[in-house]
């Protein structure tokens, strides 16, 4: 176990270094720089700006300096915020909202996704199956921003306005991330796609399991229907779900730009896109590494979960 952890840490560091290197040089290759503005800076001004931010040094030196600082946890200051905030502060400000939005959506998506998938598989070919899959397919058929706009207009605007005479207040705010009511729509909008993915995978994986011999055995030896479903089917059909869950969780928790920008959630997704648009180098690097580390961590959890769900898979060294 110790050896397993040690090698995984080594791999993680290696992966993060690779990620940092690739991102750094790709970022440098992008046209423009953080201080490229519609109005060109006079040479004297440009020189001061470059000197202050260390952009006057050769790229390789900048890279080495970045690695050296990053190694001790110093990810620098945001260019966009003119040096008033460190990258850690910027991420620290955006992550909680994204994580909360993501976690709520993920829980919702997993719960209803599994439920729909199981119902569909158990009633394979019947009406319940068709209905559950229709719901799921609807989820992957509507682009997120279309769904978000429609929800915003019809539920937050029209529906809330219609209910106002009854309730005395507007039920759902149009944007924002404060009250419980304001979190309702973005969470649902974000969970829709993942819910559909999970339910479809779950259904297909359940159907695999249902036809396998050990289920027949379990049924034959007289186990109750619920026991078969709970102890034998569920556990064994979770494997493909767990595989997609790692990256899905990382993507969802670190924020989805569309939902965050439409519902005005002050999160990481919005931060990331604006940092790319502004070419805020340090924030791009910081968010990328953060995202990468998060992903690796989630995948590690997936690997451990594999072992727990399916004892035949041992944790390889």
């Amino acid at each position: 176990m110790y050896k397993f952890i040690a090698t995984r840490i080594l791999y993680t560091v290696l992966a993060l270094w690779l990620l940092a290197t690739v991102t750094f040089f790709m970022m440098q290759a992008m046209p423009g720089d953080p201080f490229l503005k519609p109005k060109a800076l006079p040479e004297s001004v440009a020189k001061n700006v470059r000197a202050k931010w260390g952009l006057d040094k050769p790229v390789v030196i900048q890279y080495l300096v970045y690695l050296k600082n990053a190694a001790v946890g110093d990810f620098g200051y945001s260019y966009y915020y003119k040096g008033s905030r460190t990258v850690a502060q910027v991420i620290g400000a955006g992550f909680p909202a994204s994580a909360e939005l993501g976690l709520r959506s993920l829980v919702l998506a997993i719960f209803f996704g599994l439920l729909l998938g199981i119902i569909a598989a158990l009633n394979s070919g019947k009406f319940a199956d068709a209905f559950a899959m229709f719901l799921a397919i609807l989820g992957v058929s509507v682009p997120a921003f279309v769904l978000a706009y429609l929800m915003q207009y019809f539920i937050a605007f029209k529906f809330s306005a219609a209910l106002k005479p009854l309730l005395g207040f507007r039920l759902f705010p149009i944007t924002g991330w404060k009250s419980e009511a304001s979190k309702f729509l973005p969470v649902i909008a974000l969970s829709f796609g993942s819910m559909a993915t999970i339910s479809r995978l779950m259904r297909s994986s359940m159907l695999d399991v249902i036809t396998s011999d050990y289920i027949k055995t379990a049924k034959a030896k007289g186990l109750s229907r619920n026991a078969v479903i709970l102890h034998h089917m569920l556990r064994n059909s979770l494997l493909p779900i767990v595989t997609v869950l790692g990256p899905m969780a990382a993507a969802i928790l670190t924020g989805t730009f569309v939902i965050e920008s439409i519902f005005g959630v002050p999160g990481m997704g919005r931060l990331y896109i604006t940092s790319v648009q502004n070419q805020d180098y340090t924030v791009i690097m910081g968010t990328t590494l953060f995202y990468g580390a998060f992903l690796i961590f989630m995948n590690l959890l997936v690997d451990i979960a594999y072992g727990l769900i399916d004892p035949r898979i041992r944790l390889a060294d």
Binding site: T7, Y11, L14, A15, L18, L19, V22, T23, M26, M27, A29, M30, P31, M133, I137, L138, V140, S141, V142, P143, A144, F145, V146, Y149, L150, Y153, T197, R200, L201, S204, S205, L207, D208, T211, S212, L239, P240, V242, T243, V244, P247, F257, V258, Y272, I273, V276, I284, T287, T288, Y291, G292, L295, I296, N299, Y306, D310, R312, I313, A316, D317
Partner: protein, 337 residues
């Protein structure tokens, strides 16, 4: 432990059975020999795996309906822009945002007097023609994305999962690094280095898109290769390639197919997202995603501008998904009745 139950009326040891008058003599039986010819003869015509799949697919009415719909979409996308009286890029400045089923009156237009079936967009371009030519782009992007996912992800996942150990570990770390590289940077960079457009979008999707399938296949392989029948085959001396192609790969197909049918809508959505942040297909070309995106600001005044391309996306996705499900059912050996 469950209690052993004995059935009432049955004693543990059965009494000898009296067969009465039924007594066999030794010459009652005759050796007829083995008729080699007969035992090898085919009672029914031989059916290959794929022909069987096709036969069973034909029985699924919904799947066939979906297949026909996808076919109509594909053929329509190619043909409609060709036979339409309007081109997808011609602008009629006096006829912007016309409602559906309006007759073109723009002087000098080749299609004067003809019907704008889906109305016109903000530049007076015929929506009917644009939606169909957008279909070309969207379907092409979707298919190419699924194809590249399959070509890159499947072998990668197979090798990683099958070989295992150190190789698996390294291969999966590589996947993680690629997954960690922000998609947006890849796309923006490629969009600027290469001429922007469909090829660049597909390339960008290919660079990062296959990792999901690779992980999925690897997960399946890891689980399948420990199963009894694989171990049995291994013990009986099956070669590596036989193990992979005969025993492991076919059993990952059902998951792969579901994942691929999702990769198509996934790719079409990704393209829509790229349009949303402004780096999708290049004007005047359109895709369903970019049509939705352009309609965004007129959602509440000219709702049809959003609903039409959205409906095309939805219906195509619906068909693809239902068809994928049906395909999965017929391809999976375990689903045979």
């Amino acid at each position: 432990m469950k209690k052993k139950r004995s059935l009432p009326g049955l004693s543990p040891i059965a009494p000898p059975v009296d067969y009465g008058a039924l007594v066999f003599a030794e010459n009652d039986f005759e050796v007829v020999g083995t008729d080699i010819e007969k035992s090898m003869a085919m009672v029914r015509p031989s059916i290959s795996y794929w022909r069987d799949a096709w036969r069973r697919l034909k029985m699924n009415k919904i799947a066939i309906a979906c297949l026909i719909f996808i076919g109509i979409m594909a053929v329509g996308s190619v043909l409609m822009p060709l036979i339409s009286p309007f081109t997808f890029r011609e602008q009629h400045w006096d006829e912007v945002k016309l409602p559906m089923f309006t007759i073109c009156t723009e002087p000098g237009a080749a299609g004067i007097g003809k019907l704008h079936i889906f109305g016109t967009d903000a530049l007076g371009r015929d929506m009917w023609t644009r939606v169909w030519s957008g279909g070309q782009v969207s379907l092409f992007i979707g298919l190419m994305a699924a194809f590249t996912n399959f070509v890159l992800g499947m072998p990668y996942g197979l090798v990683s999962g099958f070989v295992g150990g150190r190789v698996d570990n390294v291969m999966m770390r590589i996947v993680e690094v690629i997954n960690g590289i922000p998609y947006l940077i890849v796309v923006t960079l490629l969009m600027v280095v290469l001429p922007g457009g469909v090829t660049t979008i597909i390339l960008a999707m290919a660079v990062v898109g296959w990792t999901g399938l690779a992980r999925l296949v690897r997960g399946q392989v890891v689980s399948i290769k420990e199963q009894e029948y694989v171990i049995a085959a291994k013990t009986m001396g099956a070669s590596r390639s036989r193990l992979i192609f005969r025993h492991i790969m076919p059993n990952t197909l059902s998951v792969v197919i579901v994942s691929l049918t999702m990769a198509i809508p996934g790719a079409i959505f990704t393209e829509a997202f790229l349009s949303f942040i402004g780096i999708g297909v290049q004007e005047p070309a359109a895709s369903w995603g970019s049509l939705c995106q352009q309609a965004q600001s007129s959602v509440f005044m000219n709702t049809y501008l959003l609903l039409i391309p959205a409906a095309f996306i939805c219906l195509t996705m619906l068909s693809l998904n239902l068809f994928g499900d049906a395909l999965r059912n017929v391809l999976d050996p375990r689903m045979r009745k």
